[in-house]
């Protein structure tokens, strides 16, 4: 999902300002993200697992609730659904009107916009990769999973050469929010000293609870919107 959002901006800049600066910006940001993961990954493995679960659980929970909140508000009509096509058109219009300034042989506007887009969207991915990878004891496996998703989205973008507007973005955000909240609740509680009834088998029950509550909130907020309308 984050790759879809970054790809929209890189495509808009590449088509308007030229591919060299856009792709250089995206590549430098990707290297910066790889460096962040390479430095923080090993550092996380030396933290005791209980402390790690408490901190990671707390962060995942706050992070997951942000995603879930936004996705529920969009699904119930209280917040506008993100439209990749309109974001693409807006970025293209802004890129076309921005002045040309060359630095280090690159169109500086194109470079910085793409660098920022990939770095900021990628930070969320890096955060999820590091937290899931460290608590499950395999950061490399989490990296492989994330890299596969990124490659798939970029390939799709190269093939269609336009924003991936048919990706059900809010459904994905909802699913990610439910997963982050579930794992955050589960690991956070364990880190705080809780023994879940049934051990790891409680995880699907927490997932079911979070999913049902979230779907229930969507229904309740839709009704509330009808009353307000």
């Amino acid at each position: 999902m984050e790759t879809v959002e970054a790809l929209t901006i890189v495509l808009a800049i590449g088509l308007t300002r030229g591919w060299r600066s856009a792709l250089t910006g995206a590549a430098v940001a990707t290297l910066a993200l790889a460096a962040i993961v390479a430095v923080l990954g090993p550092a996380l493995t030396v933290i005791p697992i209980e402390t790690l679960r408490l901190v990671v659980g707390g962060l995942l929970l706050v992070f997951g609730l942000q995603w879930l909140r936004k996705a529920i508000l969009r699904a119930s009509g209280w917040k506008a659904v993100r439209d990749e096509s309109s974001v693409f058109e807006r970025e293209r219009a802004e890129a076309a009107s921005a002045p040309h300034e060359e630095r280090a042989g690159l169109d500086w506007y194109g470079f910085t916009i793409c660098f920022k887009a990939v770095l900021l969207e990628g930070l969320e991915v890096a955060f999820i990769v590091l937290t899931f990878g460290s608590t499950q004891g395999s950061i490399p496996l989490a990296i492989v999973g994330a890299a596969a998703a990124v490659i798939l989205v970029v390939l799709a973008g190269i093939l269609v050469r336009e924003p991936l507007s048919r990706v059900p973005e809010n459904t994905l955000a909802f699913a990610v929010g439910v997963m982050l909240t579930t794992f955050g609740t589960f690991w956070g509680a364990e880190g705080a000293g809780v023994d879940w009834p049934g051990g790891d088998a409680a995880l699907p029950a927490v997932l079911g609870f979070v999913l049902l509550v979230s779907l229930g909130y969507v229904t309740m907020l839709r009704r509330r919107r009808l009353v307000f309308a």
């Binding site: 408490l54 707390g58 962060l59 929970l61 706050v62 992070f63 609730l65 942000q66 879930l68 909140r69 936004k70 529920i72 508000l73 119930s76 209280w78 917040k79 930070l123 969320e124 909240t181 609740t185 956070g188 509680a189 705080a192 000293g193 809780v194 023994d195 879940w196 009834p197 409680a202 927490v206 609870f209 979070v210 509550v213 979230s214 909130y217 907020l221 509330r224 919107r225």
Partner: protein, 61 residues
């Protein structure tokens, strides 16, 4: 420095700081209860449901 701090605040805490405070409080109650003989596993799921609902209600006005 201020922009750097704001970035991390927006990145982690997001639109509603009350959610982060609610989660912190729930962790505290869970940790306290976990030191007693009373089961503590139910606190966090219920707190998550409550914090999320209150935050949604504030946004849906």
């Amino acid at each position: 420095m201020k922009r750097f701090g704001k970035f991390w605040w927006d990145f982690i805490v997001g639109d509603d700081w009350r959610v982060a405070v609610g989660v912190l409080l729930a962790f505290g109650v869970t940790a306290l209860l976990a030191t007693t003989s009373v089961p503590a596993w139910w606190v966090l799921p219920l707190a998550v449901a409550a914090v999320l609902w209150l935050s949604l209600l504030r946004a849906a006005r």
